[in-house]
Symmetry: C2
Subunit: 315 residues, 2 copies
DNA sequence: AAGTTTCATAGCAATTTGCTATATTATATG
DNA sequence: CATATAATATAGCAAATTGCTATGAAACTT
């Protein structure tokens, strides 16, 4: 026999609270409403749920057994309500964020940690990718937002919010011999081995362009394909050089292992920012996350600018 | 935010079944009804539950999380329905049965076992008592039915269904010396020690009346207060006698340890039977149990009658 | 590109839900 | 034992919800 779930929940509330009046209050209903429900239930079941004529309302064994199931439903219902509330205020949910490896690893992962200190119940699903794929992923709803460098946006279905200028620098360890030179021209960098950024990354193209601008023909590139952690480790143990977004070097300023050469690198017309679907309704958690990233960089921007001057233009 | 439990259940059904049509069928509803529910839910929540425009209907993470709670409720609901069905057909529930010790122990406990072979999920709560208390217990709804000897019924709120004539016999072990006597008069029984039935039991009054009818003044009564198992054990190891309902001796015929003296015992105007509240609606399990007891004794009655003749009137 | 399947929408009758006001009943109190 | 008090049941009514059938609109299949 199929019966209404809400009826069982009311039954459970009444039995738990120890009375129709209290049970009704527990559910935010009036006493007559609940009373009628119970009468209806008994009538339909053809079995008494309460020992009639007893004031400290006593359920029959049957009533109690039914109420147990109602109680289970009441708990589930409560949890569902809580879930909804959390979700609506962006305190729960899932954010699927993608981006370029170095940038995600160096800067975004830390911001995610900060975000989780505020909203620990939001799940972050992170993935990596480069520009055309990122755009596809967003369009295919595999990803909510991407954090990546963008020069030209094709298609007007996307919205791009810039958070950082796309400056690159030549990175090396802090004890690198080139840092001792008084006037660093440029071509000297061709004398050192270079680490190549991940294949197909915009950074790789940037590096090629940079080396060509110094007249490179055959620079030694002995290490390719490592992610950020590998690159940093390698850098700190050799005199190798590589190209990195300035933001990445900035992120590692506290560690003190690597820095940038005081060398002007021609930077492309490109900005790092947040890419997402234009005008599409985002879940509150995604909105909150996007805002967090944007405002975090807003606060960082002055710091980053000063750092750039002190490192790149020093001496 | 409070939301309708049935809506969540429908959501769960749809996601589990993998489509609105299948989900609706699962719940015994039509597709438009469920479709509307989902639309309403999404509208109220302000969040999409499904990735729109995809045929193998794909839920959003939020939708899936909500559906999980709905699934829990669906399971609870199913179990509740099952409980109701079982209860309505007397396959589940509780039967509170009370009665006189000897009779319950000797005969009813076995019938309860038979009953449970048919309906294992009915819980039997057994208690002991004598007549006035039993009636009170029934009236106070502490007990569903009583199985006991009744002579006169006071009050017309009770219904009594006779199942066995209230015959008593003098019980002894099968090797008792009195069984060897050709013609047993009666007063010989006064030469042996007697076990007294539990205090306040009708049997105790019967025994007193019996001994008086044989002219007793001071019979030896060395053992008092034991329940049936104790009495039987004691009987089989001594030449003691006691008074027992014939039905009890009948129940132990297979064991072969005790029997009855071929002695006519004046029996009171009394019948063993089932006592319950008249006209009151009984739970199906109680009805089924009552019927089981009544029909079992119906089948036994011929057997019991023959046994009585063979034992009491033999020789 | 047509066919098939599946989902969404519309309209309507019946049920259910909620409320307030009030009657009834059970316990507590004098 | 009557009366006071608290709790539950009932009545009546407006609004929301539920169910259905019929039908339109997409999305996959072929």
């Amino acid at each position: 026999m199929k019966l209404d779930e809400r009826h069982l929940i009311q039954l459970a509330a009444v039995i738990n609270a120890g009375g129709v009046t209290e049970g009704a209050e527990l559910l935010g209903m009036t006493q007559p409403a609940v009373s009628r429900t119970l009468a209806l239930l008994e009538k339909r079941l053809g079995e008494p749920l309460f020992v009639k004529g007893r004031r400290p309302l006593r359920p029959t064994p049957f009533g109690r057994a039914l109420a147990d199931h109602g109680q289970a439903m009441l708990l589930s219902s409560r949890k569902a309500s809580e879930l909804v509330d959390n979700f609506r205020y962006g305190r729960a949910g899932t954010v699927r964020v993608a981006g370029t490896q170095f940038f995600m690893d160096a800067l975004i992962s830390g911001l995610i940690a900060d975000f989780h200190n505020e909203r620990p119940d939001v799940r972050i699903v992170q993935s990596y990718g480069y520009m055309p794929d990122l755009q596809d992923a967003i369009r295919a709803d595999r990803v909510d937002l991407a954090i990546c460098p963008v020069d030209v946006l094709d298609g007007d279905d996307m919205e791009f919010q810039s958070i950082l200028p796309g400056r690159n620098v030549v990175a090396c360890r802090v004890t690198h011999p080139l840092l001792l030179k008084r006037k660093l021209k440029g071509p000297e960098v061709l004398d050192y081995p270079w680490i190549a950024p991940p294949p197909n990354s915009p950074l790789q193209a940037d590096m090629r362009a940079l080396l060509l601008s110094f007249g490179s023909t055959g620079v030694s590139v002995p290490y390719i394909g490592g992610s950020l952690a590998s690159a940093i480790n390698y850098l700190t143990r050799t005199d190798a050089l590589t190209i990195l977004p300035h933001g990445v070097v900035f992120a590692y300023r506290k560690v003190g292992d690597i820095t940038a050469l005081p060398l002007r690198v021609p930077h492309p017309q490109r900005a790092l920012g947040i890419l997402r679907l234009a005008g599409s309704p985002q879940s509150p958690a995604v909105t909150a996350f996007t805002n967090h990233i944007a405002t975090s960089f807003g606060k960082l921007s002055e710091l980053i600018k000063r750092h750039e001057q002190s490192v790149v233009w020093k001496a």
